[in-house]
Every structure is written in C-alpha cells, then in structure tokens.
C-alpha cells in the first residue's frame, strides 16, 4: 500500500499519469471498456448503490440512490455535471486529484453518464483552476482521440461528450443549483428546490451533479464490486476519504484514509503530529462551514455519522487544525469575512446577517467590543441559521455559534481586555511586515 493512501492516492504520484498511455498502463479505462455497452446502465447503478458510496462534496448523499432520481419517462436530454468548483476554505483534494489524474475523472464521468443516460457532461471548475482546465482539456482530447469519448465510446455505440467550464470566481457556485445557473450563463445564485436537479437541472432537464472525488470512485467500484469497496470504512460510510489537512501540523497536505479513522490518528500518524511548541485548541473537520471540535473531542471518527454525533459534519474533508496560540475570535472573524464576501445576496438573512456579523467581529477585534456583543453575535447567527435560502447562511452561522459555545471565554477576554489573549497570526504579520494587522 502506498504511503499516501490505499485507493485513489495509491498511484497518484506516478510520473506522467496525466497522459493517457501511463494511465492505461496502470489499468485505466479498463473498467469503462468492460462496462459501457456490456453491463446495462441499471446494473452499473446497482453496483454503485450496493457499494454505499456517498457524495464526497460535503452532504454525503448516497450516490447510487441519487442517480435513480432521474425520471425514467422524461423525454428531455439528461446531463451529468461534475462539481469541480472546490472553494471550501481548507479543502484542496479535488485540485490534486484532477491535476494528477485527469483521466480517472473522465472515466468516472463516462460511466456515471452511461448509468443515468446522459450523453453530455460538463466539468464546472472554480475560476482559479485555469491550469487544471488545460490539463483536463488535454486529457479529454486524448480520450476523444482514443475513441473513449464522442459518438461511439469504446466501440459500444453509446455516445458521451465532455466539456470543461471555468467559473467566474464565486464560492456560491459550488452549491449545485447556483452552479447550474452559472453554467447556463446566469447570475450564480441558488435556485428553489424542489424541483431538484435530478428532475429539473441544467436547462430544466434532468441533471445529476456529483463531486470530483465521488466520480473518481466509480470506475474501481464497478470493476471490483461493492464488497471490495466496503473493505474500507464503516457500515454506513464505506470507502476511503481524502482529507486536506492544514494548520500547524508537521506534514500538512492531502491524505486518503479509510472512513471512520479517528481524527487524532490522522493528525498524529499521517501528519506527524503538531509542530513543536504548539498544542491543538480545536479542529474544524470538514471545511470552514462546519462547527469546530474542541481538542477534547479529537477521538471522533472521520465518518459521516460520528461527526454528526459530535455536533459537527464531515463536510468536504478540509481539516483545519487550530493551535493554542491562535485567537479563535480572529479565526472566526476571518471566516465570517469570507462568507460576507461570498454571500450571493439572494436572501436577506445571509446577505445582511453576514455583514452585521463581520461588523461586530471587527469591533471585538479592534478592542471596542461590549459584553452584549457576544450574545448579539450568537443571536444574529441564530437568526441566520435555518432561515437562509441555501446552506451558505448556515455555513456562516454554525462555526460562529460553535466557537461561542466552546470558547466563550476568549470572546469575553476581548471585551474585558480589549485585545486578543493570543494571536499568532497577528504577531507573525507584525514580525514580517512591521505593520499592525
């Protein structure tokens, strides 16, 4: 087993893997050739359903089940869309996967497209992924030349065409309906659900939106079967998960681990523990949108159910380690500013609430905070939570509420002493630039 991971990361660092020859040498496209036109679309869906594969974009919805939501009678064309708008702060797994192994995504998309009856697929890339778009376009060209894309995939008579599309730089376009609006050329804002994209998605046609990592799981699952896939992970969260670890750990980066691995083991064993002189204060386990876990809860397993039980979410797998010399208020201010900047403005609670929150944070951080500001912040977050149009509002509210719940004394310290208790970031900025940040 490779050091980086048992499955998706097993051969990820193979030189020239982006080229079709190397990819095929490692067994690439074999699953596709054995499935398209040989297994029925329903069989492919059934295998994925049996494997228990759950969406890796954050929500963890069972992938095979989602595919069955495409209405069978609909005369409209169907679309497959790959959500590669990886924008969640702290998450950088799809980027590495696509940079290093673009053909696996193509293979996964052809097979998923075959399963749902789509003849066209789109890869929606975040605006900054220009390089990746070039890599993917080159790989798509190779696959087309090899007869693996186009009107007659691998001689099966089934057609599938694939296009990449670069976003224009909005976090909200990672939300699937906003992504579809953006892909259609409209303002990137979420749409009303229902109808869900599986019924009325891209151009009001049945559309399945899957994450990059999810789609990359498909070829091996179909080739090796559900039982093989279930060798990793837990009963309800089978398989592996790629986690992007950042913060003061010795070896930050992407790691592929079996689902259910305790968070502590990820940090201690894979990442080599925290850097000398630091202690963990808290960990955000699933990207900036999820509530943080205090250091006391590090034994929670990295799977969907355990994280929910611990009051947080596995999310997109962006593990942000926060050390004891980081100011929680400052960190949350940073996150809140991000959401304020990225709020699309469609709904009132998110648009106005995130603005208000970041204004209150600014006051706390600048030493003008008042005792009542902490409750105000909590109440404003509570007024956003569950009232916003899409999950972005919740994503802005939950971390703040979690932080106040677990680290209220740090907020109170700001009010009483008019400064942060500790603030490594500010000290480092001051040291390097001489400025007071």
């Amino acid at each position: 087993v490779s050091e980086r991971g048992p499955f998706l990361f097993k051969d990820i660092d193979t030189p020239e893997l982006t080229g079709i020859e190397t990819y095929r040498k490692g067994g690439g496209y074999r699953s596709l050739e054995q499935a398209i036109g040989k297994k029925s679309p329903d069989e492919v869906t059934e295998i994925v359903k049996a494997s228990g594969l759950r969406g890796r974009g954050g929500a963890g919805f069972p992938t095979g089940l989602k595919w069955t939501f495409v209405p069978r009678q609909s005369p409209k064309p169907r679309y497959l869309v790959c959500n590669a708008d990886e924008s969640e702060p702290g998450t950088f797994k799809d980027r590495e996967l696509m940079e290093k192994n673009p053909h696996l995504l193509i293979e996964g998309m052809v097979m998923a497209g075959y399963a749902i009856g789509a003849r066209v697929g789109y890869i929606y890339l975040r605006g900054e992924f220009e390089t990746i778009q070039r890599i993917l376009d080159r790989a798509i060209g190779e696959a087309r030349a090899a007869g693996l894309l186009g009107a007659n995939v691998a001689g099966s008579g089934v057609g599938f065409e694939l296009h990449t599309h670069l976003g224009a730089g909005a976090y909200i376009c990672g939300e699937e309906t906003a992504l579809l609006s953006s892909l259609e050329g409209f303002r990137g804002q979420p749409r009303l659900k229902p109808p869900f994209p599986a019924v009325e998605g891209l151009y009001a046609c049945p559309t399945i939106v899957n994450n990059v990592e999810t789609l990359m799981n498909v070829p091996a699952i179909v080739a090796n079967g559900a039982a093989w896939f279930r060798q990793w992970g837990t009963e309800k969260s089978p398989g592996t998960k790629i986690l992007s670890v950042s913060g003061p750990v010795k070896r930050p980066g992407n790691y592929e681990v079996p689902m259910g691995l305790p968070l502590r083991r990820l940090i201690d064993e894979q990442c080599g523990g925290v850097r000398d002189g630091f202690k963990i204060k808290a960990v955000i386990p699933g990207g900036s949108s999820v509530p943080l876990l205090p250091a006391s809860m590090l034994d929670t397993g990295l799977d969907f159910e355990s994280m929910v039980a611990a009051g947080t979410l596995l999310g997109s797998g962006g593990v942000i380690v926060i050390d004891d010399q980081t100011c929680i208020v400052d960190a949350l201010y940073n996150i809140t500013r991000f959401y304020e900047h990225e709020s699309c403005g469609k709904c009132t609670p998110c648009r106005e609430g995130t603005y208000w929150m970041s204004e209150v944070f600014e006051r706390l951080e600048s030493g003008h905070g008042r005792e009542r500001d902490i409750d105000l912040l909590f109440d404003v977050s509570d007024n956003i939570l569950g009232k916003s149009f899409c999950a972005l509002g919740d994503a802005a509210a939950m971390p703040v509420m979690g932080a106040i719940k677990h680290f209220r004394e740090e907020f109170e310290y700001h009010v009483r002493h008019k400064r942060c208790a500790v603030n490594r970031r500010r000290d480092e900025v001051r040291e390097t630039t001489g400025a007071t940040a």
């Binding site: 403005g345 609670p349 603005y355 007024n383």
Partner: protein, 873 residues
Amino acid sequence: VSATCRVTINGRTVEVPAGTLVTDAAKVADVHVPIFCSHQKLPPLGACRICVVEVGMPRKDKEGKPVLDASGAPEIAWMPKVQTGCTTTVADGMHVRTESETSVKARKGVMEFLLVNHPLDCPVCDEGGECQLQDLAFAFGHDFSRMDEAKRTFDSEDLGPVVKKEANRCIVCMRCVRYCDEIMGDDALTAHQRGVRSEISSFNRQPLDCEQCGNCIEVCPVGALTALPYRFKARPWDLRQHITVCPYCSNGCSVRLGVRGNQVLRARGTEARGVNQEYLCVRGRFGYEFINSPERLTMPLMRLGASLEPASFDSAAQFAASRLREIAVQHGPGSVAFLGGEKLTVEEQYLFQKLARAVVGTPHVDARTRFTSRVTAAAQLKAVGGGRPGPSLASLTTAQEVLILGDDLQGEGPFAQAQLIRGQHQFGVHLTVAHPRRVKLARPKFRGDHLALRPGSEVALLNGLCRALLELGEPQGLPPAAAQGLAGLKGALAEWTAEKTEEATGVPAAALKAAAERLRRAERKVVVFGRAYTEHPEAPALLQAVENLGWLSGALTDERSSILYVGPQNNSQGALDMGLAPDVGPGYQPAEQGLSAPEILKAAADGKVRALWIVSDHWLQSAPDRALAERALERCELVIVNDLFLTDTARRAHVVFPASSFAEKEGVMVNCERRLQKSVRALPPLKGSRPDWEVFQAVAQSMGAPWTYRTAEDVFREIARTVGIYRGFSWSTMLPLGPRWSDAQAAAAPASLAAAKDGRPAAGEGLWLLSGGTLFLQGSLSYRGALLPRLAKHARASLHPGEALRLGVADGDPLELGGPSGSVTLPVEIDDAVPLGAVFVPYAFQEAQLNRLGSPAGAGLRVRARRADGVPA
C-alpha cells in the same frame, strides 16, 4: 389526489385548491403572512424570507393512523426548520402556525436583517406612508435597533427620465429585475455585484433603454425605485385616490389617480384589481399631465368673423342648435354629419348618435375617422364572431398559440403585449407575428415565429393561411351559413398554394404551413388583429379573410370566438356597441344606411355635407387625407367641435365646446375584451368645461327634444333598458371591473365564408409607407404633457440600412416623402427592423402629419423618398 386541500392555519381550517401556496392559503384563512419578494405575477422566489412560518403534518403511526396526543387531538410533526410560505405548496392536512415562538422569532429576525442597511430616511422618502417595509417594521419589527454599526452606502442614480434609484433603500427582492425581464420582456435592469453590495441598476449604468413603463417603481416594495415626475410632490396620505379607467388604449387598464386639490399628481396601478392589476404602460402611468394643462379650454368659443371669441355655454348651445336646425331644414337632415367619439363614455356615445339620428335625423354617424374605406360595424362584428363570447386579456397568458395580425401591440395595446410576454415566459405561449416589421414581439427573445410579409400583401397572406388550413382537413361543426360558403371558398382559394403565397408575400411556404398547423392544432388559441387591418384600404376584404381564418382554424366556433379585436382608442368598442357607425344603431340593430367617415370626408369636401359635429377627435390629424379635410372644414357652413384643447381642427370651427377630461366625469368604458368598466370622477370638471353628454343634452333640448337626463347614470339606465347587448347591466356592478358582454342573439352576425379578393394597386409609387402605433404617444392628448413628448423625441422616418444606403441618407438626414397629394420631411432613423423597400413613420406624432401625403388606396400607400436638402449622395 384530491383537487382541494384542507389546511389549518393558526387553528383555522380552510379548504383551498391543491397547489396553492401557503401565503395564499393564509389569505383565505384571514391570517396575515407578509411578503416582499413574492409577487402575484412572478414565480415563487423565496429570497426575502419574511414569510417564514412553521409547517407540520399530522404524525402517523405504522398503520397510517394519526397519532393522538393526551387531549385526543392529532399530534403534529413540525418541520425542524421554518419554511417560506411563498414557496411552500399546501398539502392535505397540513398545519401552519405563524404566531408560535419560533415563527415570530424567525420573522422578527428577518425584519431586523432587512433594516440592517436600510436608511432611516422615511421622512424624505416618496414611499413613506405606503411603504411595505415601513408597515411591516411597525407590525413585526423591534421597537429599537440593535444595529449600531455603519451601514453600507451607494450613490443615488437617475435611471433615465422616469426612474430614480436610491440603492441604499433597496432590499434586493429582485421584483423589478424579474418583472422587467419576464413581463415587460425588456431586460433593462440587473443586479450588480453580490452579497451586501448587490445593487440594482441598468447593465451599463446608463439611462434605462426600455419602455419606461415604470412598473419597476410600482412593484418596488420600498422606496428604492421612485418616479421622478412625482418626486417630492406629495405625501401619499395627502392624496385622494380614485380608481378609474385609463384614457389611452383599448386594453382598459384600471388606473389609480392620486389627486391633491384639483391636481392629478400621479397615476399608479391597482395592485389587485382591474384587468391589469399593478401593470401600467408609460402612457397610463405618466400620461395624466394633460388633465392639469394650462392650455385646457375653459370657455365655449364662437366664431365672430375671423376669430373665435369666448361665449357663454347657453348661447353657444343655442347657437349650435339653431344653426343645426336651419341647415337640416334648408338642405335636408342628410347635410349634417357626426364624426368622432371613440374616446367618449358609452353614455355620451349613445346620446351623440341619438342626437344625430333622433333629433337631427341624419344617418351620417361614424366614430372611426381614421378609416380609409367604408367598413360597416356589421362587418367588424362578423369578423370577431358576432356576439359570441370572445377571448379575454387573461386568456392571452394561457393560450397555446397566439397569432398577431398586422398590429404592433407595443403601441396599440401595451398590456396585451405584456400578457403575451408573460404567457410566453411563464406558460409557454407560442407567438406567431405576421407583420412586415420586426416588432417587439417578433424578437428572438420570445421564441416565436415572425411571418415577415411584404407590405401590401396582407390579403394574400390570409388567403394562403386559409388554404393551408383547408389542406389540414375540413373544418368541423361550421354553422350552416358558413358551411354553405365552404365550396365557393375552396374554389377561390385553390390558387393560393403555399408556394404562390410565398411568391406574393415573401413568407416561406414552410413557415406558412407550420403556422397554419400550429393554429389548427392548438386547443387554446387567440387571433389578434387591430387598426392595421380596419384602417387598411382593403379592410372589407381583410375582415372577411379574418373571419375565414377563424372558421377554418377553429378560432371561431358556434359557441365562442377566439378572435380579439384591439381597437385604436380606449372606447372604440363602446362606439361600435352604441352605433357610432353608419349602418347600425345601439346594440348592432340595423339602422338607416348613412355615410361612413371617409365618405363623409369626401361629401363635406364636395359641399354635399354642410354641417359637421366632431367630438374628441383632432380630425385634421386623423382623417386619411389632410388636404381633403382642410377643404371640408373650409366649405362647411357649420363646424362644431368638442375638445379639451384648441386643436387645429377646433381653430377652424364655428362653435367649440370645452370638454371635461376622463378624470372629471363618470361613465362606462368598454375595452377590447368587451368588458364594461365604470370610469369615476376623480376631480370636479375644470371650471367652464362640461362632460360631453351635457353638451349634447343642452343642444338637443334647444332643438326641442324632451331630454331630461339628470346624470350620466340616467343615460345608462336607458341604455340598459333599450339596448339588447347591455340589458340588465347597471353602474353598481362595474366598480371597477364590470361584466363582459356577449350576446349571440342580440348581436347575431351571420357567419359566412367568402373569398377575400385583393390585387388593387397601391396609391402612389416608391417605398411602401408603413405606419403604426408607437409606445410613447397615442392621440392628441399625449402631446399635452411634458414627459411623453420628451420620451417620444421627434418623429422620424425609419429605414432599413440597405435602403438608407440606396437613398444616400444617414441617421438624422432630412428625408422628403412625397405622396399623391403632398409631401412631408422627417429626419431619418436607421432601423433594421424595417424591411427593405419600405419606410416606417408612426402616426401618433403631431409633426409627422402623414395624411398630407394623401389617402392610402388599394394595397396601401407608396411614397417617393429623397434626401430633402438636395445634397447628392
């Protein structure tokens, strides 16, 4: 699935149709659920979140039986999150609560958020006093603000001459943007930036390039978009508000006039009432200025030698009566003719024709002064299927196929156009536009089919369509009279193959066949035509062809009609109903045949008609031949004019009666869907002016008629008693929306199928003269304000770029158009919506005076065009 759902809202159970939104169900249950972004004409959005409520369903056990709580009531499983009522449809058994702790906290939270960046400038905001945000802040908000941070700010902008934008007040509900896109079809507004910096503006931050309808102002729930003409004019609580009927086109929109003292300060839509609800076009919303114009006539005028001198009302009436009597006695009653009256109320129209027929004794009555050939009211009635129930404006949104024949609805019926755009966008209405120009509805945005026929080939196109319909199979269920003509029609149409029609009209054979097939196949269809056909020199043939098309396509059946006639004026339909036509009396009862308007024009110019009474019509402008009209006015021994203003026509009169405006009198208006609506008196008549019916009565009394109407309502009572089609109607049922009349017996028109012949050449030579309605101006009233003429700019002659190149003219160059009787010179406008070989000039412009060119004849009118300043190309 049952058709209705029982929903319990705050403990009150109501039954509503399945698919109803919770916010609408709440209205039924008399529970107030506030809304901002939601709008009755726009699909659910769910953005503002003010309508959040708790929603639950009865909990059920494994056997599907409801679980009961300790008190025996069903236990409700409330959803964990609050839901937006404006996006949630009801389910049977659903429970909703709006006053629970969770709902109240959620709503107050949203209210507080809405006020986070909203400025506290209510005292200087035009919306203050009728602002939904203000009202709801009082109703649901906190009484103090926890937000003491700096608010984000934007600069204010003037988005053109009608819209003022104060973005700081904006709550980003997107109503304006969506309304502009989905209902106006203009896409003039958008949101810039995102999040808290979202700002509504035009795309390029330039003045709005749109219809200037101001509906964005109407639907704005706050004071972010306000009307520049009304800016800082009044506080809403200082205004008396009167809902009346718009005086412009035949759509008959309800308009709410805001009056302070004797000044009309604004006009708005009515939110929930009227055929239009909140909708108004630019004319309806900003065209009220003429009411308060200082140029209004305030005294009757009588000719003394060369000049018109003020006179008392009584002496003017007596003079008019005695001269009418003298002329009628001397030269016979047939030497008197009555013209105009399409803008009068039904009561006035009735008395006008009664004065003519019963008091003076002349059959020469016609309201349709623009017509270029003799068209009987009977023919007009027959073309729309007689008194059969016809299509409504509402049906334009729900039809599958709508065929628009010859009219540019943007000018002739802006609300009908808005209905079609909304129908296309929201309900998939397919539009087929048969028009030589690429009018707004023919734009690619509306995904319809444009049958761009050559000017002058209207009859050929209809014949081709009819023949294509016949090829799709024989029409079933024709009334016997129509069935009789079928064989003859078939023979006559045999030559109009799609190929020949293509040759004659330029419309591809395939497009023609496809249009015929869509029309035949559609279960719900509407055929729309208007003045482009009735004012056409071939009008009788065109009306017959429209009827043929109706029977052959199924747009006419024995039970109902799907043909909509959009008349040129606000009460054109009333004028027909009341018999302001040379062949019928009120209620389409046969009357002694008189001369039609174009015939009266000729007879007066020849000295055969010696007295003219012209009401509410600037005849010199509207008559098809201005030279002829000038001669007629010169030769007549007596010309009486009723008008609000001293028009050029009035200047040539012997007696001028100052008329009251629509806002100053009561009466009934009939719109294009034949709906009777009561116009109310919003302010007293301008001192010295009188409603036209009082003038008619005074003159009739002076002539010895025993008329004793005390009010206009007295007149209507007589109409309701004596005129079959209005039998049983009364004013009390018309506030503001009245019934639509349909009466297949009283207004029976014999169905017929007969060949429509064309082939007469057009008058003149050179480019085809295309004319039509325009958005910003309609009729002589619209010049009298400041805003509409400013929006309309100067009249221009529009040419295809290729035609301009051929003539060697560029944008703005003076172009001389020469017709059989004269010429006009207008600046050129390059417009690729105009076909090659034609020039387009809207007729509403005072300065255009197209009737100086001569009357159209045969297939139309052609004009010689050349650069007027003599500079060679």
